[in-house]
């Protein structure tokens, strides 16, 4: 994958591009994209992948003017337009799934294939989503992974909490990334998507790890009810980071969109 920059109307946008075939736009979750992300690499074996970073993620420029859900949605459409793409497969994980669903709802005739991987965006009082923003680094693996031990190894690689300079860098990254994510996820990741899901016309596949402890599978059913004709693929022995834990199965599920 290659990291590039494209000029979108509000801000220059950094994006990963790689692979060949049908164009697919992937919108990342609140954690962003890892360098050499294995999921993107797997997607790129089948698709021409474009994975834009939200402003403030990775080394990309921040954009204070993107404040609310409509701003996020239109910005993401701006990026698709700037990349010159028409009707790409649109996929999003977690927060990215929330944005992708909003994009498909606001412009239902421009997207015909939608893959939502354990998306955020709904709220069920019986299944309150844990507060991501008060979660301490060491608590994340529990929430995100089916295999907590492997998840811990993945998330804590390179951490040096006792080094003040490292800590400063970590806090800056968190402030940039989660600060941006907070605009649509804090304090409750619901910006009214439930009332707009009916507009989605795309063929939609919902992909969920059956052991997701962050956005539990009850949400999968709520999405399925909300999006007419959507199909649910539940992947066993996988948590919220199903893209990392069961990479191939997620790619296969997306492929069901044709």
């Amino acid at each position: 994958m290659e990291l590039k920059t494209i000029a979108a109307p509000r801000v220059p946008v950094r994006y990963y591009e790689g692979g060949s075939g049908t164009p697919l736009v992937f919108l990342h979750g609140a954690g962003g994209i890892m360098p050499n992300d294995p999921f993107l690499a797997a997607l790129a074996k089948k698709y021409h992948v474009y994975a834009p970073l939200l402003p403030g993620y990775g080394d990309s420029e921040e954009c204070p003017e993107i404040r609310d859900m409509l701003d996020f949605t239109l910005h993401s459409w701006d990026v698709v337009d700037a990349l010159g793409l028409k009707n790409p497969v649109l996929a999003g994980h977690s927060m990215g799934g929330m944005i992708a669903a909003e994009m498909a709802a606001i412009a239902p005739h421009d997207i015909s294939r939608l893959a939502l991987i354990c998306p955020a965006g709904l709220w069920l009082d019986d299944h309150p989503i844990p507060d991501l923003f008060s979660t301490l680094p060491f608590e994340f693996p529990q929430l995100l992974f089916h295999n907590v031990e492997q998840g811990t190894a993945l998330l804590t690689a390179g951490m040096a909490v006792d080094d003040p300079e490292w800590l400063k860098g970590f806090l800056v990254t968190n402030a940039r990334q989660l600060g941006m994510a907070g605009r649509i996820l804090f304090p409750i990741p619901d910006r009214g998507l439930a009332g707009r899901l009916y507009r989605i016309k795309a063929k939609t596949v919902l992909i969920w790890g059956d052991g997701d402890r962050l956005i539990v599978p009850a949400y999968a059913h709520a999405f399925r009810k909300g999006i007419a004709g959507s199909e649910l693929v539940v992947i066993p022995e996988a948590g919220h980071m199903v893209t990392m834990e069961k990479t191939e199965q997620v790619v296969q599920a997306i492929a069901r969109l044709g």
């Binding site: 204070p64 923003f133 008060s134 968190n174 989660l178 600060g179």
Partner: protein
């Protein structure tokens, strides 16, 4: 010097094993630990103590705003301030302050502060904190990375509401108001003096300097640890080209305990000080700083708050706290010396004296307060003679203020009826 007697109003009945059994004193504190019936006496004693401080000649009595917090029983500081307008006589009423991004619409603050100023005869000192992340983000749901923008807009709206004499339209991002026209408006025209509590944000330094507001550092970790932060502030005052370095441009909160001797201070106050530092400050680190609440510039400057992830919950001893300067405690002479070090070291003219500590009972608190007022305060009064006329950062009460209980007596009433 301006000495404000400040009460955080801690809940004094947290159990001994609070820290072991609870993850946080703030945000998700156990509801069952609050007893509304007991709180009746707690509130009344705390108000009595504030009134007592007024009678002893403190320049101000102070209160602040916290939410869902075991060491702060004042979600609405204006209610406490309103109660204080009635039975205090001369002290400034220092509300430090209203977290203006949390009021919807923020003209509510302009109105309530105006009421307090009118009711007290111009004794209000108004504070505008951004609010901690615990209060602002986790309790009151403000989006962390938009909190400062919302705060700035609220500030502009409040100031315009106080300054303009005609109704105006306010088309803000967070507030759309077609007819702003506050009624009443404050006695102190056009606005009461303003103090801004801060925790080391560079942006807050500049905001204070540019608007001639006093910067207050309200830490509990004492004057020794505050040196670097206040030095940074004074450097900034210089860099920014402020016309002077008046010590009243800054304030500092300090826990203070006075007794006859140093030994007596430990004997009398140790358990209450330890209650506060080891029990009340037990905040879950996840609530310390919602990502996006602090600006990148502030994080990069390294001025992390006392609640930052590296804040340790080690159990502190009396010796740690006194030697580390968290607490200034001892005989009047010991306290005087250390206060002098604080005042000159930090170059601050406004001292917020935290004299009620943790679960301290009223009689001990009165004893300490009286000794401070009579044996320490007078000796510190004239620390900055060259700035004694700087009245920009303090209230300007009217003369001849109305007194409570001034209704006509029974005879006058009968006479009026017979007319």
């Amino acid at each position: 010097m301006k000495f404000t007697w400040f009460n955080l109003m801690p809940w004094p009945h947290l159990p001994d094993d609070f820290r072991e059994k609870n993850r946080s004193v703030w945000v998700d504190i156990d509801q069952k630990l609050f007893d509304p019936v007991k709180s009746n006496a707690v509130y009344n004693t705390y108000l009595d103590l504030l009134e007592y401080a007024d009678g002893l000649g403190f320049d101000g009595v102070g209160c602040n705003e916290h939410h869902q917090n075991g060491y702060g029983l004042m979600p609405s500081p204006n209610l406490i301030a309103a109660a204080l307008t009635r039975r205090t006589k001369d002290a400034a009423i220092v509300v430090l302050g209203n977290s203006i991004a949390l009021y919807n619409p923020p003209v509510r603050v302009a109105e309530e502060f105006a009421m307090l100023d009118c009711m007290s005869g111009g004794r209000l000192v108004a504070g505008f904190p951004v609010g901690t992340s615990m209060d602002t983000n986790f309790c009151y749901g403000q989006i962390p990375s938009l909190t400062r923008e919302k705060y700035a807009e609220a500030h502009d709206l409040i100031m315009r509401a106080w300054h303009e004499r005609e109704p105006f339209a306010f088309n803000g991002r967070y507030n759309k108001l077609r007819h702003v026209n506050i009624w009443p408006r404050p006695i102190q025209a056009p606005n009461p003096p303003i103090h801004i509590p801060g925790g080391g944000s560079v942006e807050t330094y500049d905001f204070c300097i540019d608007n001639t507001y006093s910067y207050s550092y309200l830490s509990f970790t004492g004057y020794i640890r505050a040196k670097a932060l206040l030095d940074g502030y004074w450097r900034r005052v210089e860099e920014r080209g402020a016309p002077d370095k008046s010590p009243y441009r800054a304030g500092f909160a300090q826990t203070i305990c006075v007794a006859d001797t140093d030994e007596e201070a430990q004997r009398l106050y140790e358990e209450h000080v330890l209650y506060f530092y080891n029990r009340c400050l037990h905040v879950y680190p996840g609530f310390a700083d919602a990502p996006g609440y602090r600006t990148i510039k502030t994080i990069q400057s390294g001025a992390l708050s006392q609640y930052a992830p590296n804040f340790s919950f080690a159990t502190l001893t009396w010796k740690d706290l006194v030697e580390g300067g968290h607490v200034i405690a001892g005989s009047p002479e010991t306290v005087r010396q250390r206060m002098e070090d604080l005042i000159t070291g930090l170059h601050v003219g406004n001292i917020f004296c935290l004299m009620h500590v943790g679960n301290m009972p009223a009689e001990k608190c009165m004893y300490s307060t009286k000794l401070f007022a009579e044996k320490v305060m007078p000796k510190l009064r004239n620390m900055f003679p060259e700035y004694k006329d700087d009245s920009r950062f303090w209230c300007h009460p009217i003369g001849n203020r109305a007194k409570p209980g001034s209704l006509p007596d029974a005879r006058e009433l009968a006479a009026a009826g017979g007319r």
